[in-house]
């Protein structure tokens, strides 16, 4: 069978920058390293940013980045373009892996010592190295501003603090059901605020 050089089976280097994320993921499925490099160029910054923010440890954060991109290399089919953007897929993976680490680290420390932990949101950010897309960041801030203070603290404790909703309920001294619903309602509200602001898709 003839092997085609273009179309589905080859992306020339010059086209890489214009190729959509989902098409690059398909190319990754064919062991196309250039495609992975391009995806890394597009998304490694935010992936690292989130991992660092969650873990507060640059070395661990880089390990997460490595893991997330190696996973994409090995299991590109895990990304389903019909369920969202590649960015949110990668950040969800980053969050999940970071939280796993955080929880096991926390469990370890809790066993060893009973003193209070430095929670990740208090740990040092490498502010100098963080480059925010200001427009998006501002709108996200606005969207978070649309939350009630109660929703906001529940969501932040869960997402950035890496606490389960049960832990959040204990921290805030509220019923678990209340926290579950604050998180859910808050996320929905943020989502509509973001969509209204023209970011975050449909």
């Amino acid at each position: 069978m003839p092997r085609s050089e273009h179309g589905l089976h080859g992306i020339s280097t010059t086209d890489l920058h214009e190729t959509s994320d989902p098409s690059l993921v398909v190319a990754v499925g064919r062991y196309d390293e250039d495609a992975l490099a391009e995806l890394y160029r597009r998304h490694a910054g935010p992936v690292l940013g989130l991992a660092r923010r969650l873990l507060g440890d640059p070395t661990l954060a880089e390990e997460i980045v490595q893991e997330v991109f190696l996973r994409l290399w090995r299991n590109p089919e895990k990304f389903d373009r019909e369920r969202g953007t590649l960015r949110s897929f990668l950040l969800a993976q980053t969050h999940g892996r970071s939280i796993d680490l955080l929880r096991s680290e926390r469990a370890r420390r809790q066993r060893e010592e009973r003193e209070a932990l430095a929670t990740p949101e208090e740990s040092s950010h490498d502010i100098e190295r963080e480059v925010w897309d200001m427009t998006v960041a501002e709108r996200v801030q606005d969207a978070m501003g649309s939350l009630t203070p109660e929703e906001r603290s529940a969501i932040e404790l869960a997402y950035f603090g890496g606490h389960t909703y049960r832990e959040v309920a204990a921290i805030l001294d509220e019923p678990e059901g209340t926290i579950k619903s604050r998180i859910r309602v808050g996320l929905r509200r943020m989502r509509s605020a973001l969509v209204e602001a023209g970011i975050g898709g449909t």
Partner: protein, 253 residues
Amino acid sequence: MKRRLDHAEAQDLLGAYALDAIDDDERESIEQHLAECPACRGEVDAHLEAAALMGQGAAQPPDELWQRISGALHRPKPAARPSFSERLSARWSARSRSGLALRVAAGAAAVAAVAAIAVLAVKVADQSSQIDRLTGAPSGDLATAAGDALTSGRGERVVLRSEDGGLAVDAVLLPEGTGYLVRNNLPPLPADRTYQLWAVVGDRVISAGILGPSPGVSAFHVDGSVSGLVVTEERDGGVVSSKNPALTAWLRT
């Protein structure tokens, strides 16, 4: 508390689930529900988009990080994937969401095998197969050729079946990798959809070609000895890797 959640219970947990703010046992229960509930999947996807934007601060990765990743790409894969023949007790699952999914009787290996088979479908596409439209001789001639293959004694007759047995595709395989789809009861698809045929060769799954929206007799050829055949439904033009469930499948036992 690993148990089935009803829809309302699952819904309550969707926000917390999207933020990874649940315990592992709850995660399992929710994922079980998500697999069956498109509405909840849609809600989780929306929550994930919001969460991703919230977590959107960027940092500048150090240059050597890509070098590390890129270096790791070429390392030999850790433990070899189980060969396909080790998974022969498997059956295709028409209901699974996990793409060209295979459910393995051997319990613990199931998840890994599902992932592996989907990867194989992806990775191999480039190597030996194109997404070819299977055409060739008029169907009468093909039918004759297929009949000859059968009666020559060299051909092996196999049947691809759906999980519930309702769909069947009869095929004839010749030892050298040629085969014929003889007849089938696949329902006709809309014009923008197509059936696609996949062949299992060794431990790989290769696209063996596109069958069109209402397949008749078709011939196909792959290099190597075929140990399984699968038909999926895809968008017109076919795909290099399938995320869709096997409609009908045959695996050599």
